[in-house]
Point group: C2
Chain length 213, copies 2
DNA sequence: CGGCATCCTCTTTGATACTG
DNA sequence: CAGTATCAAAGAGGATGCCG
């Protein structure tokens, strides 16, 4: 990107990550850790492959992304965030919080990848942190997601839960609305959600109060 | 901007404010409140006037910016943020915090407007909130800035202080480094900073601990 | 003047095809 | 798999023109 040529921290930050696709590439690396080129490409539907290659070069040059030659089991180069790149997490959370209101518009023709849910889910809290940890499986996109509570925090990762307290199956926008607390379970079931197991496990997940504004 | 076409809160946020210049327009409106077109244009050196007009249209359509026909004393239309637009403040602060490290590179040929300092300054705290409030005048860009502590918080606004505890005069990058605590006063004076008044007043301004990461 | 709209050139993006 | 090459379309940048 052309520099804005302004001696302002926001402008200088945008000189580095203000390019189209740049922050979404950071999102992918933040959510998935080390990624091969093809993993990134798959998690960024709509990007042109030459642009992905170009942005990775730029971000590497800016010290946001690092290329690593992975050892034999993988035997290819992978991309990961530098610590400088991980420092962009608050930017993505702020954008995600602000953009959350735009998720009420239905999914429409938008692409969806289930691991994208990990970002808003990590902003939830366990409303009963002293209770036993809960495990929820969410099946809603390209792959199932395991959601677990740990010390009041909530994390999501791809995978199939062994003994989940609840399993949630439905369209991404319905699942999202339930997790955001904007849709109660009965209404959600009317909109195609299927819930197996303990509804109370779902109810324990609450938006963190400080992440609202 | 073309939509990313992804059902993800970050992508949807960037559909609205990911365009080049969009977040800097929000920065201007956040820092200066209501603005005439020309004020915005002056605070965004480098932007093309047709782009500014176009972005303002887009942001108005997205509910981020509002046009107001100002009453007689001004007698022109002014732009301001909607509440939705003000909600972008955390995004700008996150970007500014991340970009702050890039401010160590000297100003070079970059343009500078002194009101841009208000954003990082508002992230400072008064390390001695129980002491008497302090007022500092900073003269470093196109116009002087009054910095005041109120209840442990620090605010900046354009203007000339009547009885400042200290006056800081120097190049933007030196002033910035001092405020960020990356340069002590003696070293800063070697780099052209002039300080009149009480050095202790400056020392009371400290980066807020939670805004570091 | 303040507040844009037009016109033109140059750069970036997007879509797809191709290669080691 | 991990990109590069090619090319058309969209967007940005810059100058200038118009209108109350």
């Amino acid at each position: 990107m052309r520099s804005y040529g302004q001696y302002c921290a926001v402008a200088r930050a945008l000189d580095v990550v203000g390019d189209r696709w740049a922050l979404l590439i950071v999102r992918e690396l933040l959510l998935r850790g080390s990624c091969r080129y093809t993993d990134l490409y798959g998690g960024l539907p709509g990007i042109a492959t030459n642009l992905l290659a170009g942005r990775l070069r730029d971000l590497e040059g800016a010290g946001v992304v690092r290329r690593v030659d992975a050892p034999p089991p993988v035997a290819t180069t992978v991309y990961e965030l530098t610590s400088r790149g991980s420092g962009l997490a608050p930017v993505l959370h702020a954008l995600g919080t602000w953009g959350g209101d735009l998720m009420a518009q239905p999914q429409g023709a938008d692409e969806f990848r289930s691991h994208w849910l990990a970002l808003p889910i990590s902003r939830l809290t366990d409303s009963t942190p002293d209770g036993p940890p809960v495990t929820i499986e969410i099946r809603t996109g390209d792959q199932p997601l395991i959601v677990e509570t740990v010390d009041g925090n909530v994390r999501a990762r791809p995978g199939i839960a062994e003994h989940p307290d609840a399993v949630l199956v439905g369209a991404p926008d319905v699942v999202m609305a339930v997790l955001r607390g904007h849709l109660d379970l009965t209404e959600a079931e009317r909109r195609g959600l299927r819930l197996d197991g303990d509804a109370a496990a779902i109810q324990r997940l609450r938006p963190a109060p400080w992440s609202e504004g």
